[in-house]
């Protein structure tokens, strides 16, 4: 195939346009191409140690998610999703039969996107979870993302979680902001 000077120049121009389009695409789509906004949080304690997880928490319990209780978009970068939960069994603390559990994440009106904190999937009404929570002054119990909302699929999993977290409760390590 013979490419003359004119075609060579046209090819060059098209390549320049291509680079420009790619660069512009990068600038324009870098942050707005996804409908899921990622947010990553650094935990204040070592969540991989159940003794520290339980030691930090006010409450550890099994509960059924009855229904969504709405989403709060209060001008913060991450919305709150609230749920009505029926408490099945208290492991730490003594919650009443029905409580409101708060989860950071949900649909953000501000961002017009779903926001997930540490890839923690939103709670599903009708499912049972092992919850690790701390009381919020606004009247709900905030769960620990990813480590404090463990789904319970069957009775075998429930027994295993119950044993693990009851043991952790007896050996809990209270949260200490001065400790490393």
């Amino acid at each position: 195939m013979k490419i003359n000077k004119k075609r060579f120049l046209v090819a060059g121009l098209i390549m320049i346009l291509g680079f420009t389009a790619g660069y512009a695409g990068k600038r324009l789509t870098r942050k707005d191409s996804s409908q899921v906004v990622n947010t990553t949080a650094s935990y204040a304690f070592d969540v991989s140690d159940p003794r520290k997880l339980v030691g930090w928490a006010d409450n550890v319990f099994f509960g059924y998610v009855d229904s969504s209780a709405g989403t709060l978009n209060v001008g913060q970068p991450v919305p709150w999703s609230l749920y009505k939960v029926t408490v099945q069994e208290n492991i730490k603390g003594n919650l009443p039969e029905t409580v409101t559990v708060g989860q950071e994440g949900g649909f953000s009106v501000d961002k017009n996107a779903m926001v997930l904190l540490n890839d923690d999937a939103l709670l599903v009404p009708g499912k049972e979870y092992l919850f690790v929570t701390k009381a919020d002054a606004r009247g709900w119990h905030t769960l620990v993302p990813a480590f404090g909302d463990l789904p319970v699929a069957n009775s075998r999993e429930r027994r295993a979680l119950s044993e693990k977290f009851n043991n952790a409760h007896t050996k809990q390590i209270p949260y200490d902001p001065k400790a490393f």
């Binding site: 389009a21 996804s34 906004v37 926001v115």
Partner: protein
Amino acid sequence: MKDRVMNTSVLMLLFFAAAAFGSHFNPAGSSVDSGEIRWGGSTTYTDARQWATDKWNALGAISIQPDTAFTIEDLTWQDADVCSASWDGRWTQYIGADTVELNKCYLKNYTDFKRRAVATHELGHGLGLGDHTLSDYSSSSIVMYNCSTCSGVNTPQTHDQSDYNSLW
């Protein structure tokens, strides 16, 4: 006619190849724009923010500087006060400037060393580095460990630097 079709095909191939190369250059999920992070906002913990900025700037590939009237803000520092939350620092992607939040409920009780660890960790997210757990990295002695104040370090360690260098 055959030559014209071939020429058109070659030109289209060149266009798409060039476009793909241009758009593949910058990894998603960071606050970096054109080789820099311009930050704004305000925080009580300016010492920690400056520490983090200095430590990551020392690695050289990405320039982290305050925003000016002539630049576009990529990252906004701000404080939160959420005592029921289990996090002390948080980076959030946003259509405009991304945000770093420092949770005063924890940081007010932290030593300067730990405040700096949190800020360095969060700015690491701004640079596109992810959280590490003990299951994907055998030691917690990295600033990008998912509990930044558990690691006993507040500067980018060998593994953090390796991640940074492979990204940038």
